[in-house]
């Protein structure tokens, strides 16, 4: 579904992604772990071209995103949902409006059907009673669930998560992870950057360990968590587990 060939990314002189080759398949849940500053977010953001790769290519459903025209890129982005660490809900819009604005304005969905779908999705993430609430009146966990629903409102083929629980108070982490687990079980293709090792173990089909701009090691959760072959993976896991 997504194929990454020789992806490189630098910010000025700072080379953040050095040479990444990876493939994500339909229905797969992949968790990306690694120390802070290793380039996980940058990698994820290169997948939907929020960051322009310096070199290499990203192919999504057979189309190379790199070098696409703005308009075509926007259409493909509609099929790649993204959830941010800081939620990034639109504060001037209600929960429902957060879910309807993009489908209506960019996908040409009718207002009425977008609204119906928004209510369904908010119910699905357990926020059926917050349809008319503004983000500022919601807790962090609730906001992040609205943000997930917002991405789902575009009917994406893949969902990208960048540390979706890192900004949450501990008691709210569970409710967000639960929504993500349900999503994984429904067969959604997911790429998740997270420090929640429990989630990785339980839900991931594959775990990637990134360090210093490379994917150093990858494998099933069992392999990565019980018998990592690489020294840097061992060091990292020793610190976080």
């Amino acid at each position: 579904m997504i194929k990454v060939n020789h992806l490189k990314k630098s910010f000025g002189k700072n080379v953040v992604l050095k040479d990444i080759n990876e493939e994500f398949n339909q229905g797969e849940v992949v968790v990306v772990i690694g120390p802070s500053g290793s380039g996980k977010s940058t990698f994820l953001r290169c997948l939907n071209l929020l960051e322009e790769p310096t070199d290499g290519e990203v192919v999504f459903e057979g189309t190379a995103l790199t070098g696409l025209k703005e308009k075509d890129l926007n259409e493909l982005r509609q099929k790649m949902g993204m959830v941010f660490q800081q939620f990034n809900l639109f504060p001037h819009k209600t929960a429902q409006e957060n879910l309807t604005i993009a489908p209506v304005k960019s996908k040409g969905v009718s207002q009425a059907s977008a609204e119906r779908k928004a209510v369904d999705l908010l119910n699905q993430v357990g926020l059926g009673d917050k349809v008319a609430a503004y983000p500022a009146s919601l807790s962090g966990g609730q906001q992040q669930r609205v943000a997930i629903a917002r991405a789902l409102a575009m009917d994406p083929d893949v969902m990208l998560f960048d540390e979706p629980t890192s900004a949450l108070d501990p008691e709210m982490v569970g409710e967000v992870l639960k929504v993500m687990k349900d999503l994984a079980q429904s067969g959604m293709t997911m790429v998740v950057v997270t420090h929640e090792m429990g989630f990785a173990r339980e839900v991931a089909d594959r775990v990637l360990f990134m360090d210093d701009g490379y994917i150093v090691e990858q494998g099933t959760p069992e392999h990565i968590f019980t018998q990592p072959t690489h020294e840097r993976t061992q060091d990292f896991l020793a610190k976080v587990l």
Binding site: N48, L50, E70, K71, N74, E75, L76, R77, Q78, K79, M80, G81, M82, F84, Q86, N88, L89, F90, P91, H92, I101, A102, K105, S106, K107, Y134, P135, A136, A147, R150, A151, M154
Partner: protein, 492 residues
């Protein structure tokens, strides 16, 4: 930044070159006269706060500039076989307006001093006059001659003939103001002890105000200084000749005497309005129309300017945030330039400079100038507003596949608007107040009308107070209205 400084300076030099008048004044053979006759209208510039020569009065229920000079203007227009159009402009701006072709000739009780002759031509003198000293009535036994004013604070209209004459008062401390009304107020409030004023004008005021007293001052004058003449652009000899013919007829038949009588009647009319019991309650009812007209124009200028300022500001802000260096550069240069120059000069520049190429009505020129000015300030407000919206908002919108424009319109801009609302409101209030600057080019907004009321009512302070109140009511209601909408935008 360095580069932009350089380019702005170059731009300035080019512009300056464009507007420096060429020294060579081409000899003409009837072109100026023909132009006026072809257009069928003679545009006369004046400064209508100078009774009995030019001042406002109600004529058949309509407010008009009347007075001796205006009757002379009418006679000249009649002799030329064209219509007369009068433009009321501040005295200081009359000669610039003439040179910039905003008006054809100037008739404003203007004395053809040697200084003025350097930049314009004059007709024969059409009215010989004398110069007076104006004092408070209570001082009339103390100040009886020029000598008795030695060392005292003396008021004169800036740029006037009287400014030069006042130097003849030994050790006098001169106070120069543009407006005669302000000077009279200064006299009545003891800020100055006396004024030097044109004779009939001083008599008109003293006759209408029992607190004032005037007498003829024995100044030494050159012949030329002793009268009023019509001013022309240099080189328009055919027009000068034609006007001189009319003036000769006026002199022959002694028409100025008749004109002064008629002008006196208009002044009496405004005097009786102040008579009897009406004085207490009458002021507002007599003059409210002036304030109302001025308020309407002020609101019109402000609203239209804010509207165009917002559009221009949004465009400039987007240009400043654009990826194209040329756009960024142009917007930055524009904003820096407008913010770095006084609005007064911008207004005068647009009005007078445009007059060199085509005829732009003063109100339009004023609105354009204020819009161009506020556009620069609003651009900076909008830019800071767009920058104040968290980067994550745009990323979220783009990640949902929204195009740049949709993201800007539906996500970024509404949030920016909420952030900059107070600053925008401030700008609107500033425009309401600062738009008064366009009164220098004769736009009849509130300050201009206040000047008119002060000159025809012979009242100094009351009109100022009323105007202050009007401004306050305008800005205060606007503040309340803006707060109301700010509350509605708030979802936190």
């Amino acid at each position: 930044m360095k580069k932009s400084v350089y380019v702005v300076l170059t731009l300035l030099l080019v512009l300056t070159g464009l507007f420096i008048p060429s020294e060579e004044v081409a000899a003409e053979d009837g072109a100026a006269l023909k132009r006026v006759q072809d257009e069928g209208v003679l545009v006369v510039g004046t400064s209508a706060d100078f009774p009995p020569f030019e001042f406002y009065a109600e004529v058949d229920g309509e407010r008009q500039v009347v007075g001796m000079d205006m009757m002379i203007a009418q006679k000249i227009a009649d002799d030329l076989g064209v219509d007369l159009e009068i433009q009321d402009i501040g005295f200081d701006s009359l000669l610039p307006a003439l040179e910039a072709r905003n008006v054809d000739i100037v008739i404003a009780g203007m004395t053809p001093t040697a200084e003025r002759r350097k930049s314009v031509d004059f007709s024969e003198i059409y009215f010989k006059t004398f110069q007076n000293i104006m004092i408070r009535a209570e001082d009339k036994d103390v100040y009886t001659s020029i000598e008795s004013l030695k060392g005292l604070p003396i008021g004169v209209q800036s740029g006037s003939l009287q400014e030069g004459l006042a130097e003849q008062i030994e050790d006098a401390e001169l106070m120069s103001l543009t407006s005669l009304s302000d000077l009279l107020l200064a006299l009545k409030t003891n800020r100055i002890e006396a004024m030097v004023m044109q004779g009939p004008n001083a008599e008109a005021h003293a006759g209408n105000d029992e607190d004032l007293f005037t007498f003829v001052g024995e100044f030494e004058m050159e012949d030329d200084d002793a009268g009023s003449a019509v001013a022309f652009r240099q080189g328009e000899d055919s027009l000068v000749t034609a006007v001189n013919e009319s003036l000769a007829e006026i002199a022959e038949q002694n028409l100025t005497d008749d004109y002064l009588v008629v002008a006196g009647e208009y002044m009496v009319q405004s005097e009786t309005d102040e008579d009897g019991e009406e004085v207490e309650t009458g002021f507002a009812s007599d003059y409210w129309q002036y304030f109302w007209d001025g308020t309407k124009i002020t609101l019109l200028i402000s609203a239209v300017s804010v509207f165009f300022g917002l559009i221009l500001g949004a465009i400039l802000a987007l240009m400043r945030l654009s990826k194209t260096a040329l756009f960024r550069f142009f917007a930055t240069a524009y904003i820096e330039f407008v913010r770095g120059t006084p609005m007064l000069i911008q207004v005068m520049f647009i009005y007078f400079a445009s007059g060199m190429f085509f005829n732009l009505p003063a109100l339009t020129a004023g609105i354009i100038a204020v819009s161009l000015n506020s556009g620069a300030y609003i651009a900076e407000i909008i830019r800071s507003g767009l920058n104040s919206v968290d980067k994550g908002q745009e990323e979220a919108a783009r990640s949902l596949g929204m195009g740049k424009n949709d993201a800007l319109r539906h996500i970024i801009f509404p949030q920016a608007l909420k952030n900059i609302w107070p600053a925008l409101g401030n700008e609107f209030i500033t425009i309401i107040k600062e738009s008064s600057i366009v009164s220098v080019i004769g736009v009849g907004e509130l300050i201009f009308q206040t000047r008119v009321v002060r000159s025809i009512s012979f009242q100094g302070i009351l009109p100022l107070f009323i105007t202050m109140m009007v401004y306050f009511v305008l800005t205060f209601s606007l503040t309340k209205l803006l707060n109301f909408y700010e509350g509605r935008m708030n979802h936190d």
